[in-house]
């Protein structure tokens, strides 16, 4: 009994250790977001301080946070959603038909440095008059999300035994049907991981959003730079903006997580 207790304790200590390392900068950012500029740069660092909400007031009031949030959400959801529609079938095909060259081709999109897309895309999108809409942003974010979805899901589909759909096909179902009804439901964890990561990458993307967005379609990461002025760095504002940007993403992924747990426990068809 003692041994088990010891190993469990060590386990929990390790988990707490990991959690602290992960959390430390956030805790600092969060506490700084409630400090005045004076307190943030104080030395020695202040642990006790008089909190203020003026930073958040600036973020939500002056900086039109809601608009940025809506834009990031629209672009992210659309980009990831479309990437799933295009990517899941492609990933399945790569996994089952061993289409290595295809995998490499899709991955190529991820290999190019972002800067090299800026000018060519600007030419195309502005000629097509797509600049003032979400289309340009969504398309550019899809180029980020799609390879992630395909890359993770092709590997994940590979771990699902072929017998799953083959037994159904023997019974007369087509491969598409088997994909739709059997493989996809089993892919919960993989899809969630791919979706979460793709969404995060889209959410945090700075370069494309900065150049391809117009006033109406600006996304959240731009908001952080609003606090970096020509002659001023508003540390409190930066911290508050950073926290505000992360909060929705965290909440969204929290909701996502609950869905998966529910889905999996409601009876997966596992042979």
């Amino acid at each position: 009994m003692n041994r088990k207790f010891l190993s469990t304790t060590i386990f929990y200590l390790a988990v707490v250790g990991i959690a602290l390392v992960v959390l430390f900068p956030f805790l600092w950012m969060l506490s700084s977001s409630f400090k005045t500029q004076v307190d943030i740069i104080a030395w020695p660092p202040k642990i006790l301080f008089a909190p203020t909400i003026q930073n958040y007031q600036k973020v939500f009031g002056e900086q039109d946070f809601l608009k940025y949030f809506m834009n990031s959400t629209i672009v992210g959801v659309a980009a990831v959603g479309l990437s799933l529609v295009l990517g899941l079938p492609a990933a399945y095909s790569i996994a089952r038909f061993n289409q290595k060259k295809l995998a490499v081709f899709i991955l190529l999109a991820r290999l190019m440095p972002g800067i090299s897309f800026l000018m060519p895309w600007y030419i195309v999108f502005s000629r097509l008059e797509l600049m003032d809409s979400y289309t340009a942003l969504i398309l550019s974010h899809m180029l980020i999300a799609l390879p992630i979805v395909i890359w993770i899901m092709s590997s994940y589909f590979g771990t699902i035994p072929r017998e799953m759909e083959e037994s159904a096909m023997v019974d007369g179902a087509t491969r598409q049907y088997a994909f739709w009804k059997i493989i996809l439901p089993l892919s919960g964890p993989g899809v969630i991981t791919a979706t979460t990561l793709a969404f995060i990458f889209s959410w945090n993307n700075f370069l494309f959003s900065q150049v391809l967005s117009m006033e109406k379609t600006k996304t959240l990461p731009i908001a952080v730079y609003n606090f970096l002025s020509y002659a001023e760095v508003d540390w409190g504002g930066v911290m508050a903006a950073a926290c505000a940007i992360m909060a929705p993403a965290i909440i969204l992924t929290m909701i996502f997580q609950k869905y998966v747990v529910k889905g999996l426990t409601m009876g997966a068809v596992k042979g």
Binding site: Y12, V15, I18, A19, V22, P25, W28, P45, L86, P89, A90, Q99, V104, F105, I106, L108, A109, R110, L111, M112, P113, I115, S116, M119, P120, W121, I123, V124, S140, M142, I150, W151, I152, S155, Y156, G158, R175, Q176, Y177, P189, G190, I192, T193, T196, L197, I200, W203, N204, L220, P221, V224, Y225, W235, V238, A242, M246, I250, T253, Q257, V261
Partner: protein
Amino acid sequence: MMQSGFAERNLQRLFPLPAVIFVAMLMVFPVLYTSYLSFTNWNLTSGMPATFVGWRSYARVLTEPRFVNALVRTFIFTFFAVAIEGICGVAAALVLHRAFVGKSLAKLLLLLPLVATPVAIGIVFNLFYDPTIGLANFVLTSLGLPPGLWISNDKSVIPSLILVDVWQWTPMITLIVLAGLAGLSDEPIEAARIDGASEAQIIRWVTIPMVMPVILTALILRLIDALKTFDIIFAMTGGGPGYASETLNIMGYKYSFEYFRMGQSAVILVVLFLVVFTCSLGIMKLRTASEI
């Protein structure tokens, strides 16, 4: 259910088709454009239009010591960052791969560094790393250790940047590997346990080999991004002090938007692309080998 035989037979073409069309549409023009630019001497500061100069831009860039240094630095940064992230990430995944109280909370906390906007993190870490009023030195001196210069010194800047990168991206490896571990079948592990193998042996000889394809998947994804790391370096040092933290991507940005040498910048980006491509191919071959 009636399905056309055509669809069934050609599924391997139809399923990927939309994705392929999409990628081709968005990628073809930029690839052609950048390649074309790399063969010109287009320099906005001269006010003259681009003229075709063949390999001359390549010759100019590739022979410059600053370029070679950036290339080497890109490799060093990437190699160490990804290696550390791989080891820590897999270790963390193994630790967390069991049912325990607070597992969903732990997974959520793990997501946080990933969710943090890299640009914001860079700015925040700048303050953190300040040698005089930064929290990093405060922690060090409180523990009785000597304070460091972090990103202000050309010898410690790369390790300091790697630290930030490791903090931010290790969770991604952990999450992907965790999902992979969750999909493993229990039989081989149970069998080994029954055979009397210790936990360490099981991990080393059964679990890890089984999940290796997933680990490599995660590493490839991470490698590609690490080679192109931009946001944190840009936000924290801009390539400095001097050129001490200048990687290929940063140099490409500088040449594009600070020196306005579009032709030469395209050369740098082409080289970066080739580097990323070659490294990815290398690891992908590893992945195929391990899938057997």
